[in-house]
Subunit: 881 residues, 2 copies
Amino acid sequence: MKKFVYNFKEGSAEMRNLLGGKGANLAEMMRIGLPVPPGFTVTTEACSRYFKEGEKISQDLLDEIFEHLNELENATGKKLGAKKNPLLVSVRSGAPVSMPGMMDTILNLGLNDESVEGLYEATGDRRFAFDCYRRFIQMFSEVVLGIEHAKFEGIIESIKKKKDVEFDTELDDKDWEEVVKLYKELILKETKEQFPQDPKKQLIMAVEAVFRSWNNQRAIIYRKINKIPDDLGTAVNIQSMVFGNMGNDSGTGVAFTRNPSTGEKQLYGEFLLNAQGEDVVAGIRTPKNIEELKDLMPDVFKQLVDVCNLLEKHYKDMQDIEFTVEKGRLYLLQTRSGKRTAQAAVKIAVDMVKEGLITKEEAIMRVSPEQVASLLHRRIDPEAKAEIIAKGLPASPGAAWGQVVFHPDEAERMGQQGLKVILVRVETTPDDIHGIVAAQGVLTSRGGMTSHAAVVARGMGKPCVCGCDSISVDYSNEEFKAGSIIVKKGDIISIDGSTGNVILGKVKMIDPVLSEEFKELLKWADEKRRLSVRANADTPKDAEIARSFGAEGIGLCRTEHMFMAQERLPYVQEMIMAETGEEREKALSKIQSFQEEDFEGIFKEMEGLPVTIRLLDPPLHEFLPKEEELIVEINELKQKGEKELLKKKQEILKRVKALKEFNPMLGLRGCRLGIIYPEIYEMQVKAIFKAACRLAKKGISVYPEVEIPLVSNVNELKVLGEMIQKTAKEVMDEEGIKVDYKIGTMLELPRACLIADKLAEYAEFFSFGTNDLTQTTYGLSRDDAEAKFLPHYINQKILSEDPFIVLDRVGVGGLMRTAVDLGRRVNKNIVIGICGEHGGEPNSIEFCHEIGLDYVSCSPFRVPVARLAAAQAALKENMKK
Amino acid sequence: MKKFVYNFKEGSAEMRNLLGGKGANLAEMMRIGLPVPPGFTVTTEACSRYFKEGEKISQDLLDEIFEHLNELENATGKKLGAKKNPLLVSVRSGAPVSMPGMMDTILNLGLNDESVEGLYEATGDRRFAFDCYRRFIQMFSEVVLGIEHAKFEGIIESIKKKKDVEFDTELDDKDWEEVVKLYKELILKETKEQFPQDPKKQLIMAVEAVFRSWNNQRAIIYRKINKIPDDLGTAVNIQSMVFGNMGNDSGTGVAFTRNPSTGEKQLYGEFLLNAQGEDVVAGIRTPKNIEELKDLMPDVFKQLVDVCNLLEKHYKDMQDIEFTVEKGRLYLLQTRSGKRTAQAAVKIAVDMVKEGLITKEEAIMRVSPEQVASLLHRRIDPEAKAEIIAKGLPASPGAAWGQVVFHPDEAERMGQQGLKVILVRVETTPDDIHGIVAAQGVLTSRGGMTSHAAVVARGMGKPCVCGCDSISVDYSNEEFKAGSIIVKKGDIISIDGSTGNVILGKVKMIDPVLSEEFKELLKWADEKRRLSVRANADTPKDAEIARSFGAEGIGLCRTEHMFMAQERLPYVQEMIMAETGEEREKALSKIQSFQEEDFEGIFKEMEGLPVTIRLLDPPLHEFLPKEEELIVEINELKQKGEKELLKKKQEILKRVKALKEFNPMLGLRGCRLGIIYPEIYEMQVKAIFKAACRLAKKGISVYPEVEIPLVSNVNELKVLGEMIQKTAKEVMDEEGIKVDYKIGTMLELPRACLIADKLAEYAEFFSFGTNDLTQTTYGLSRDDAEAKFLPHYINQKILSEDPFIVLDRVGVGGLMRTAVDLGRRVNKNIVIGICGEHGGEPNSIEFCHEIGLDYVSCSPFRVPVARLAAAQAALKENMKK
């Protein structure tokens, strides 16, 4: 027969799945000789069985539990519910994956009207006995019977009022006896039943309550957020009680073996004298720093330090320990790997390597790439003076400044002109997405941490302050008030999404700096990873940041941003509106000189490293004003009678209408532009090679990689590739110098992946554009879906993840795998990378490693994340071998 | 050494690729003993070599040609360019694929100032000799030297003027001698060189000219239109001349072995007495019916009939023969399979089976499915009275009637209301596409057969009359004038795209009827094909037509058209606007009763056959008014002060804005609607099963197949499949009867194909929606691409075909193949079909057969095309085995 209950003596740390984290660690500590109060664990399988059998505990499980209870009674020489020297136990949940605060705990179980007297007799402390009893009744009633906490607190309050005292400590044994009486009356009233006096019944009710708590709302939500499977189940730990509240030689506390905030190697924690665990949690008394224990109980302190050292050596990780001191004797109630900040995680991992505790590989695996991302946000310079005018919720980390705008359309327009804006709204809706995209950050006066603005901004990695109800937004006057301060459209503010602060004016911000430990960890990661890491960067500034974070090249330089800049847009529009070849040439040559500057700057920053430049990708109408705006403008001009401008605007409107598309995402863009308007791509190629040659002449080594976007057909690549070769040759001949370069293509359409063998005949590199590839593979417009129905899909579990965040391995990934196979079959030296947003997401990076890509490319600030994730992917692969 | 020249005696019909069609058939006729003037053929390989060697004829080829010339001279006992009894030859092109009129021909080569006297001497006819000579000079000069035709005609005109005569026949030998003199002077003037007197030089120049003509503009365009590879090359046939212009016992003509228009078995053709071939072509003299030859030359006629019978039996196909009679002696100059109308093709194929000439299989392969499509258009009843008010170009076949509209937006609006409209424009642009889609037909006053309107209408299979310059369109008054008749918006006209007629009012039209032969051919096809053929039909009327054409089920019944009907749209809008569940329920229940009627009608028509019903697919905003229109309306209402309606319209506008999407094709549509608004799909499923149960109770057997569109994820199918099962069961329980049904999904997104194994766990059938699958695989919006850049892509040969017309076998087809494999691996009985437009296109049907689909589904009028194409696919496969 299957075994559903384990004595602590029978378990070990490896049995986490069966015994839960807490149970397994209690068993492990006992195994290595640490002072753990005896007990046993009901397994997670028992929990699953409980749900399978319709929330019923079967007789054989009952028998097994009582058998172990019997064993425990024998071991302690005490009996549950006995009149003399009774055994008391705690009942705690413990899932295989740590779910702090999610499950419920019951202490002092086994007390009843008889055994409370036995406890008094055993301890000689009547007040203590009745205090324990009332605590048990209260916890049991809340957790098992579901009676409101406030009702119990009300009873205590009424007693204190009657006695006219302020603190619980001022109540004596009689008072607690009275409380117990009133509690029992309350229970009878609420449940129509007496408080259960049978300790075995108490035990089973408690076990069932723990089982059921696996499916309480908090637990379900926690699992959802943390992607923990619903079918793991929780174990239940039944452990004989020790008491920290038996006088000043007793106490209870929590200790971390290292500082969980900074990672410093020092005992860290706090404790309370003469208290039980929940007093620490309740926060009624202020706990003391663990250092003070040294003076109060030097022996216990020394023992605790030894225990900490032993546990760290044993678990090879920083531990979070719960302990109780009963009459000078130390007991350990829990140990687990301690939660820590990103900074601490990095420091601890690196320190432990130096201490010889773990290997470099283990250190790399120990730090979560997603977590270290938080170390890479811009923040407000702590030295800077800041006039904080309001404070909201810190909804999306990082800091930003910009001109205040109230309307998303305006944010978009200004953003396209290269202006920095902060979008200020009462709250945002899906219709505002384009404004959020264009803004540096978002501030709303309404909505919480899960409001639309918060979710979207976090998704985009933009700072956001939400629910800032101390400001009042006035759309019609385009201003907001913060107290007596009025901030108008165009005024500059700064926001800090990590603190919620809203600051008047532009504050000095500092770019994130990598700690020495982080640098060291990344260096180790670099030694282990096979994937190269590049960055997506469109400006010399971005390139500089990327390089400082260790980027080994630019994987995607988008040229459209260069077209959008305010001083250039007029020429771009001229080019689009040109009617004669001459007009078009003129406009293009002006744009070319701008582009040359851009490329020169980027090449210089990336000296010696490859720079992949994508030729113009978006549809031309994105460079023209919006139709609705033009109509309004034209109406105004008509009224003013400005004929010349009117005519011009009407012509633009005509062109806008002609360029209008039903589905611009699937329209005349990417290489289709290059085929239809060859002069645009030619100009870009000229600019690339002029810039490259100019630097090459100065002895600066440049490696341009010209990338053709949106290819779905081999002839597109062939025709444009020939144009690039011809143009490059012309420029290099003219400049009298040769530059190494590559021609390649983005794979961002399913068909491109399916014909990768043919493409590989003309391409020297491939770069997966997984944003568009996800859109086309799923037939899903990201702009529309994320605003309108993807959240619903994820909520309903139709999709487990947003495929625009975590790469879809089956569909999109399947196409990628096909493309890699086909491409390498024809050209085994072809360089293959990824430049979609997935290139900075750890799970997706792991997949890229698995299918044998050469590099990932991500935003500059995510380069360290990618370096770490790439190393982890390589190590995981080695482990599998 | 490779042989580049073949005597006719050495060749045969099988050597078509090497000798060209003409050369191979001349050789074949000679082989079977028919009277063919002797000659030889320079091969297509010589032509390819000529281009490869930079348009030069190598010495060894020259040697080979002259060797064969020598042989020919020996065989005929004449010598090229000889003073006595000179040999004259014709030089004609002949490609492996028939390219009528595309290549150039030179007759009477070998004449010069000496041999013309020899010809005179040999024939005793000086006029004849100099007429031959001037003809030769003229043809040679036009074809080889590139001198304009008109210049030669001008010389003849001047002579006629001088003599004051009207016809060439009135000119005598002196006149022609004079013409020859003037011709030679013209040549010297134009080319600065004398007309070549060396006959060998003439020959080689002519051969080169034929080679070069392979790449003349006409030939290139012809090949492009007819998809003939550019690298085939042409052969050159050098044949001793025979003369049809040697008196009234001579003549020349063309004969078809059967009537190429009707297919009747009768000698068909025409001839000219005393004439050379080009006189027939030139059309100066009206040829006589071939029947008249019986009286004029009974022996020759009998011989010709025998030859025709022999050739038909030999080639087992209707032949198109060129013949010349020289002094009572019949010579055959060419035979080839005759071009024929669709009607004739069908009749000839079926008759030949009955005559025992060919097998049923051959008959099936003999008829082009694309060609028979023309037999399936609606046309105007020839018995009907029609007031023809104008005539334009017959730009897209078929006939239609409807209310005149001038603006595409209005056409769309009226079309959505179920009204029939004819869109009348000066010309159309890509912006008008939605209007063309909505209209029954298109009439333009400007633009030719390749204008936008013509191309688009043909693509959509809609009737179109173009370039109708006798009407004048007045947009501002919304009317057009045709002579004195004014046709206003809303007036009804009919158009006949097969004749170009524009008719006032509604004319009686007749649906196409299948001839008995066609029915028989299709019956044979049915016996051979493995693919089942279904139809896409949304109404009982369409279903009826489909069934009459042999559809074996409905492969796609789109339910959105049912939502669009004028009397239903208000309820649909109510449903979309509903704020309370009650309001929505009310609107939905009204729509449900409409849907029940629709389904009942279709099920009844398709009794005993499966009907695949696709649940609602388009985004909801398609059912609401357009944003721009609402804005205009709201402004008007504001001015009128109609507050209540204003408020309603403003609410609709708000909803329209909320539903607006950047890329509706990739947005909230298909099963995503079913997940987000489950009540809509539930209503549809209820309607399907109510209708089905109602008929089942009457003993009518129905096979509904409920189809879920736009699935990209297995959970979509799972969740909606469960809903369908549950709802179906409820309805059937309620109605007390069971109905067999299937649940399945469309595969129209790349990801659906890639997870077909998972989908097959929940789907009983798959249907490839290749329109959307092509859009997403290519990342190409059809609406945008076909209007804006696909034509350019096809012109530039970036794409060889429009992938929306001919299925892309590599990309889209690759995904289909994957899906079939994956799907059948999990569920080997799964039924798989295709319902995109490709389902009616022969090349695509062949692919569907190859990858093992179970059925194709196409528009009702293409069902016969598909039946034939499916049979051909099966036969082709057998041939390969």
